[in-house]
Each structure stands twice: as C-alpha cells, then as structure tokens.
C-alpha cells in the first residue's frame, strides 16, 4: 500500500512538470478563446493580436466565471460577467468597470501557466520549465487532427505502441512520454497523449512530412480512420476497468490583501525592475522616445495613465508616463522632453542613456486613472503632457468609446508619437503655435459643452493646465469631471511650522519639526511609505486624514478634495492645526 501511494506521488510530480500539447495552433483563430483542460485543470487559451498565446486559469478571480466564455478583443480578455479586463501576457487586471474612478491594484492578477507554441501546437504544463521537447526529424511536419478518448492517458499511450498506418510499422516510447511509430518507408508519426483528466485523454499526433492539398487531406483521413479504430478498442478496454479517482485541481487562494476591501500600497521608492533600453529615437523636436524591455520575466501590468520612476545613471529619479496601448505588455515606452533648465533628469536621458543600457525602474503606479464610463471624453494635451493621454486615448479607441483629442504644440515638428496618434484618426486635432490668448479661446470652444458622464483629462505645462481648469470651471464643468496631472509642483513650499502627528491604526504619536516633511518623519520611525515624485505632483504618498486641518501644498488633489480635507500628500503638505490624525 505504501509503495502504491509513493509511486502515485512521484507520478503526479512528473505529470505536472511535463509539457503537453493542449491545443492545435489552428484552435486559436483570430480573437477566439479556446477552452482546454489538462490534468483536471481548465485553461482559457487565447492569442492576442500581437501573436502571443496566453494560457490562463479558466476562472475570473472575481466570481469564478469561466474566462473561456469571455471576450478576446485582441489586447485584453474581458470577463463576460462584470467586464473585468485582463492584459495580454501579464494577466493583470487593468480595469474594473464597477469602480471606474479607481485604478485596480496591480497585484490582481490571474493565474497563468507556462505556455509555448511549437510544431503547430500549443504546449502547456502546470509547472513546466525549459523548452518543449525538441522533435528531431519533425522539422517539416503535418499536425494530425486531435482525437479525444474516454480512457486514461497511460492506457492510451500503451495502445499507441501497436499503432499501424502503413507497412512495416514499429512503435517505440520516447523519454518525454510520447510514442513514435515509424513505417517501413521512413514515414513517422509522433503521438503525445494529453491527459485531460483521470479518465479522458486526447491523442495529438505529428507526421514527419509537410503535406499540402489532397495529399494532406487523404493522410489526415487515413489517420482519423486508424485512430478512431484505436479509440473504439481503448474505450472498450477502459469501460471494463474501474475508473480512476477524479483529479481535483487546487485553486490558488488570492492574497490576503485582495480578500479585503481597502487598497494596498507598495512600500518605499523602490526600483524593483531591471530593463534594457531597446530603442531610443527622436519622436519630435526635442523629444526622445525610449522603449524598455524586461531583462528577465514579465513586466508588471500597467493601466492607462500610469507612470514609472526611472532611476538614472547620475543618481536622479524621474517620473515618466507610459504611452503604451492596451495589450502592449512586452515593453514600456516613455517620451522625454529635453529641459535644459531643469534639474538634469531629461538632459541625462537625452545625452547619456544609450540603446542597450541597463536601467532600474519602478513598477507602474497609476495616480491618474482613466474612467471608461464616460459617454464622451475630451483630452487636452500641452507639449510633452501628451504622454499619459496617449495611453488613455488608445485604450478608449480600442474599446470603441467616444473621445476627442486636442494636442497643443509649438509647431508640427514638436508633435510627438505621430504613429500612435495616427490611430485616433478624426478624433485628433492638432493646435499649432497658438498664443496664450488664442489657446484660451480655443479651450473655451473645446470645453463649451459640459454634461452628464462627460469627462476631461488635462496634462501639460502648469500655466496651461491652470488656464484649462479655470475655463472648465467657468463653463460649468463639475470638479469631479476634470482630471489633471501636473509634471511638477511649482508651489513655493513652506515647512516652517511644527505639529503633532497621531497615527490611528499604528497607535503612534510623532512630532514633525520645522524643516522636515511628514513623509520623512514617518520613514524615520520605521513606517515604510510609498512615494514617487516627492514634490506633491504624482499622488503616490497620499494618506487619509481622520482629524485636523491641512495646509495643502501639492498640485495633485483637486480644489474639492483639498476643501474636503480627507487626504494629504505627505511629501509636501502639513498640518494647519497643532495635531493631525492620519489613517495609517
């Protein structure tokens, strides 16, 4: 008895670390989602428009609905039940429609499995590593039609050894568990048996000849016929024996943080990713675009509006928005304008960073989330402020939502990312070389019609951003419909007062002296806070305020949010009262 159990345990381990074909490449036509099964576990298998084949747990993390009934839009897979969207490659959730104003936590990620496409088939394994089996002698091949059977894998494999499709056939098992049948004339078929679950299998065969036309059809027919014969025999044999106990796949539990409602934050200003500069090119006058590729593993999921911290070779840390469209998950792209007067970040990128360089970057953070529940969205971009808005507009465009894109530039030569913008077609209007007054007049025209479920996203230089916000306000746009992101905070910061800080959840009382920020005091006391720009522009270090008045010195919160006093940017803002109670 002991021996039997041991043997089974070893077999299970082997089974789970093997590669198996789970589908033919032809099972994945354009924008289809294929349902596969291996060792009792269901997979949703889908090919994105860029060709990548995704093999995921066939279960939405939210309410357990099969993703194989979902929608493949070429970039993302959308769950049929609540419209949650999962990104190509990463399987990270990019959007939760029930909460359009929130950016989903990037750790909401579906279970993915190792997958490769080779020899005309899709291969997967729960814990497969390395490469799929090399098939020497099958470089030019024809994939046979798959044959499903009601019989256990081992029984099917054994019976395949006696398979005969021509004169002089002999069968031999291979190390990877497959079976090769070679005929007298050198024609050979290699069979893999996909263990669907305990008592079901699929025979997937490859012929060592690339056949076309009628020759291919007659060969497929011959093997169909022979394999159906084998199927009848094996199924009859299986019906005689006691069925094996069903395989019960274990579903990984979601992380503890995700099982609760509040948001999580990632700690500190860290650069956990290493990337190479795969491309660097001028995209407009004074604007360079950089493409970052991962050195190892998959880059984390981003959402439109997200930025990354780039740690530069000269020690500076700078924030740049991603311009990627949905589904572009194998790289990050940023755009950087040369600002000779700034603190040296952009100059370093323009002059020092070269193609092939290694850089440290943070995972994407999204403090500028895009609502996708607007009936119409207006984007207003000024100069290099276009970058986050490109990613947003590409997302709306791909989902067929209504939007218009106004791009204010000095001249045509200053318009960046023309190729990506080309996707927007008539929705794009380029406004060239307008004076501040002309810009104001144009904006009044653009923002003339506020209304229900209409939203505006603005990013650009400070004065233009402020002008746009004032115009929107004057034309009756509600505070909640105007979304903006500053590049930097030009507010003159005052850190001359001192006050007491109570941390409600950590039960700590701290003193913030003049000359120190709340963020610094928190860190000194061992509270690891997430932050990014550390100048009140990006929103990463936002914390809830339970009691006390705040001197807001940031440019992230809207006037309404500042008046409400329910949150504070700990990197620049301070208490107006003697005491501030924070929700930490």
């Amino acid at each position: 008895m002991t021996r039997a159990i041991k043997r089974e345990a070893i077999m299970t381990t082997d089974l789970h670390s093997n590669w198996y074909p789970i589908a033919s490449s032809s099972d994945l036509p354009n924008r289809h989602v294929y349902q596969a099964q291996l060792l009792g576990r269901e997979f949703a298998v889908w090919r994105a428009d860029d060709g990548y084949v995704n093999v995921w747990e066939n279960r939405c993390l939210h309410r357990g609905v099969r993703l194989s009934i979902g929608i493949n839009d070429g970039q993302e897979l959308k769950c049929q039940y609540h419209g949650w969207r999962y990104a190509n490659r990463t399987a990270g959730c990019t959007y939760i429609p029930a909460h359009p104003a929130d950016a989903p936590s990037r750790t909401i990620c579906n279970n993915t499995y190792p997958a490769q496409e080779a020899h005309g088939m899709v291969w997967a394994g729960e814990m497969a590593v390395g490469e799929v089996p090399a098939l020497d002698g099958f470089e030019a091949a024809t994939v046979l039609r798959p044959i499903p059977l009601n019989a256990p894998q081992e029984m099917v494999s054994n019976s395949l050894l006696a398979y005969s499709f021509a004169d002089g056939c002999s069968g031999a098992p291979n190390e990877d568990g497959s079976v090769t049948i070679t005929a007298g004339d050198g024609a050979a078929v290699r069979f893999y048996v996909q263990p669907v679950n305990s008592n079901h299998s699929v025979i997937r065969g490859i012929l060592n000849k690339e056949l076309t036309g009628s020759e291919r059809l007659s060969s497929l027919k011959l093997h169909d016929w022979k394999l159906q014969e084998l199927r009848s025999k094996v199924e009859a044999e299986a019906a005689q024996s006691e069925p094996l106990a069903p395989m019960e796949p274990v579903f990984a539990r979601v992380s503890e943080l995700l099982s609760e409602l509040p948001h999580e934050t990632t700690d500190g200003r860290t650069a956990e990713l290493r990337v190479t500069v795969a491309e660097k090119s001028m995209t407009a006058e004074g604007i360079v675009s950089l493409r970052f590729d991962s050195i190892k593993g998959q880059l984390p999921t981003f959402q439109p509006g997200a930025h990354i911290d780039v740690h530069l070779q000269n020690g500076l840390i700078r924030q740049y928005s991603l311009t990627n469209g949905p589904g572009e998950t194998d790289h990050y792209t940023i755009g950087v304008k040369r600002e000779p007067d700034s603190r040296g970040g952009s100059v370093s990128i323009h002059d020092e960073v070269k193609k092939g360089d290694l850089l440290a970057v943070s995972a994407p953070r999204n403090n500028f989330p895009l609502r996708r529940d607007a009936v119409h969205t207006i984007f207003v971009a000024g100069g290099i402020g276009v970058t986050p808005l490109i990613s947003m507009a590409r997302t709306l465009n791909s989902q067929g939502h209504s939007f218009e894109f106004h791009y204010f530039v000095q001249s045509k030569n200053h318009a960046a990312f023309k190729q990506e913008m080309g996707e927007f077609d008539k929705a794009l209007t380029l406004h060239e070389g307008l004076s501040p007054d002309e810009t104001g007049a144009k904006l009044r025209q653009v923002l003339s019609a506020p209304g229900d479920s209409r939203h505006v996203y603005i990013c650009g230089p400070g004065p233009m951003l402020e002008a746009t916000r004032d115009i929107a306000d004057a034309q009756g746009w509600p505070d909640g419909a105007i979304h903006f992101e500053y590049f930097k905070n030009t507010t003159e910061l005052d850190d001359s007062n001192s006050f007491q800080l109570d941390l409600a959840r950590s039960a700590m009382t701290l003193d913030v002296p003049a000359g120190k920020t709340i963020l610094e005091v928190l860190r000194e006391n061992g509270i690891n806070m997430a932050s990014s720009c550390e100048q009140g522009a990006c929103g990463t270090c936002r914390v809830g305020v339970i009691e006390g008045d705040v001197i807001h010195q940031d440019v992230y919160l809207s006037p309404g949010e500042k008046a409400e006093g329910k949150s504070i940017m700990t990197c620049v803002s301070r208490a107006a009262s003697d005491r501030l109670i924070l929700d930490i």
Binding site: H99, P100, I108
Partner: protein, 298 residues
C-alpha cells in the same frame, strides 16, 4: 422512512419552496427533488396541498397514512415544505397582501449551480451592463455607487439600501436613462427579495422575489414571484420580460466554478460593489450552513 441525503441540519430545518401552486392546478401528482431527495406533491379535493417522500419510484399513489406527510404551507403562491422542524416561520413579504397589487408567478428556471451562487447573482448590480445589456444596464454606465448593507439582528436578514444603478429605460415611457433605486433583502439563505422604483407610483416599490429550491448541492430550481403595481402590462409580457432576464443569467451561473459558493474570504476577489455578497457570505458562515457552499477551512 429512509434517512435524508442532506446531512446539514441548517438546510434541513428551513422551509423550502418546491413548486408554484399552478404546477398542480389539475389535481395531478407531481414530483420534484429537494436537497437530493425525491418529493411528491398534489392538491387534495379539499383544496389542501400535501407533500410526501415517495417510497416507490414508479408509483404516484397518494399515501393513506397521514403520518408520512411532510409539513406544508401555501404562501406567496408557492408550496413550501421542510425536512426538519424550522425555528422560524416563512419570512414576511408584506407587499404581497396589498390589495391593489398584482402577484404573478413569473417563472421556474432550472439552473446547474448552487443556491447561494444564484442568490449572489440576484444581489449583484455590477453585471447589469454586461449580462442584461440595454435592458437593466448599458455601457459605459457601469459604476456601482456606494450603498449600505446591514444585517438586521432582530429579523436575522441582510438588507442593502440606497442602491442605485443607471438603467437605459428607467421607467416605462421614458426615453432617457437614469439611476434606478433598489433595495435588497436576504431573509433566508436561499431566498431574496428586491424592491425597485415603481414606474406607476413614485412613492411605492415593485417587489421581485426569488425562492431558490436546492434540488441538490449544485442544481436549483429558481422560482420568481413578482408583486407589482401595474394595471397596464399583460401577464404574458411581464413573464416574458423576467424570463428574458433570467435566461441571460443562466449561462453565466452555469459557468461559475466551483459551483458551490466558497465561503473562504480568500477564494475570490471582492470589490466594494460586492459589499452585500460579502455580508451574505459572512452571514452564511455564521449560520454554519454547509449545503451548497464550500465552508471556510478556518
């Protein structure tokens, strides 16, 4: 009498709907399944409904010994029975007795899913634009706004209030979409009642109840009862509407996996919109119910 297949005392001691009274209108003997066991029922000549467990799978003879009959109640147009001794009477739906309302049995739907999964779907607004497209919701209006959930200790039921959802045809005759108000009650582990704005009368609410009959742990018959203030629509039109809605939910429910409702908080990922479902799962955990759920290991 053989033992019951269901071993969960909580489920055994509940009242369950097994059929609409319309199912035996002709006095015939009908059969259905409850908690994994066959039950037969009919209406006697005196008008009373009787329910029993048939001993012979082929015979439809009415038992002569009254001792083998199961407890029965006729309420809200349905036949209710129990395999145990319920602690509470069947929950109240006071609207049912208002004289100017129409009470309609809209549908009985068989679904290959557990009863608690069906209840969660009934409580859920977030799926309206995706599953009931252009009827109960439409993209891009997908937001589930903040609402309140309470567990009433006194009545032992979950109540979700201040629920609002944008609907394309908010009321009969309106051409524009608008937010529609909902209230949800879960007074029974396998039953729920929702109230929504009534197109005819602003101050009152239409009610829709779902009584889910657990055929076994992973199969149900969902009985839908409406109590409306509506003097215009024909019964057939009202039924067709509800059947369309339920017909859209059925394939989703049948593709939920696992079919039993996992009560482990880490089995699935809730969001704020799922507040009522979270309260429901906790409430079920508190009751110690095991039938149709995967209890939390802890």
């Amino acid at each position: 009498m053989p033992e019951f297949t269901c071993k969960d005392p909580v489920a055994l001691n509940l009242w369950h709907v097994i059929a609409s009274v319309e199912e035996v209108a002709d006095g015939s003997v009908q059969r259905t399944q409850l908690l994994g066991d066959q039950v037969a029922f009919t209406q006697r000549a005196d008008g009373d409904f009787i329910v029993w467990r048939p001993t012979d799978s082929n015979s439809d003879s009415v038992p002569s010994d009254p001792a083998v009959l199961l407890p029965v109640q006729q309420k809200y147009g349905y036949i209710w029975t129990t395999f145990g001794t319920p602690e509470h009477d069947i929950f109240a739906i006071p609207e049912f007795d208002e004289s100017d309302r129409r009470n309609i049995h809209a549908a009985t739907f068989g679904v290959h899913v557990s009863a608690p999964r069906a209840i969660e779907n009934f409580l859920d607004m977030g799926h309206f634009p995706y599953v009931h497209t252009d009827i109960l919701g439409a993209e891009p209006h997908t937001e589930v706004k903040e609402y309140y959930v309470d567990v009433s200790e006194e009545r032992d039921e979950i109540v979700a209030t201040n629920c609002k959802f944008w609907q394309p045809i908010a009321a009969a005759g309106s051409t524009d979409g608008a937010d529609v108000d909902y209230i949800y009650r879960v007074p029974h582990p396998y039953c729920s009642v929702l109230y929504k704005s009534c197109p005819g009368e602003e101050s009152r609410l239409d009610a829709i109840a779902v009584f889910v009959q657990p055929v076994d742990e992973e199969h149900v018959r969902a009985h839908m009862m409406l109590t409306l203030i509506d003097e215009v629509s024909a019964d057939t039109a009202i039924r067709l509407f509800q059947q369309t809605i339920f017909g859209q939910d059925k394939p989703i429910l049948e593709n939920q996996y696992p079919k039993r409702l996992p009560l482990d908080p880490r089995a699935e990922t809730p969001i704020r919109a799922d507040k009522s479902a979270i309260a429901y799962r906790r409430w079920l955990t508190g009751k110690g119910i095991t039938y149709g759920v995967i209890p939390s290991a802890a």
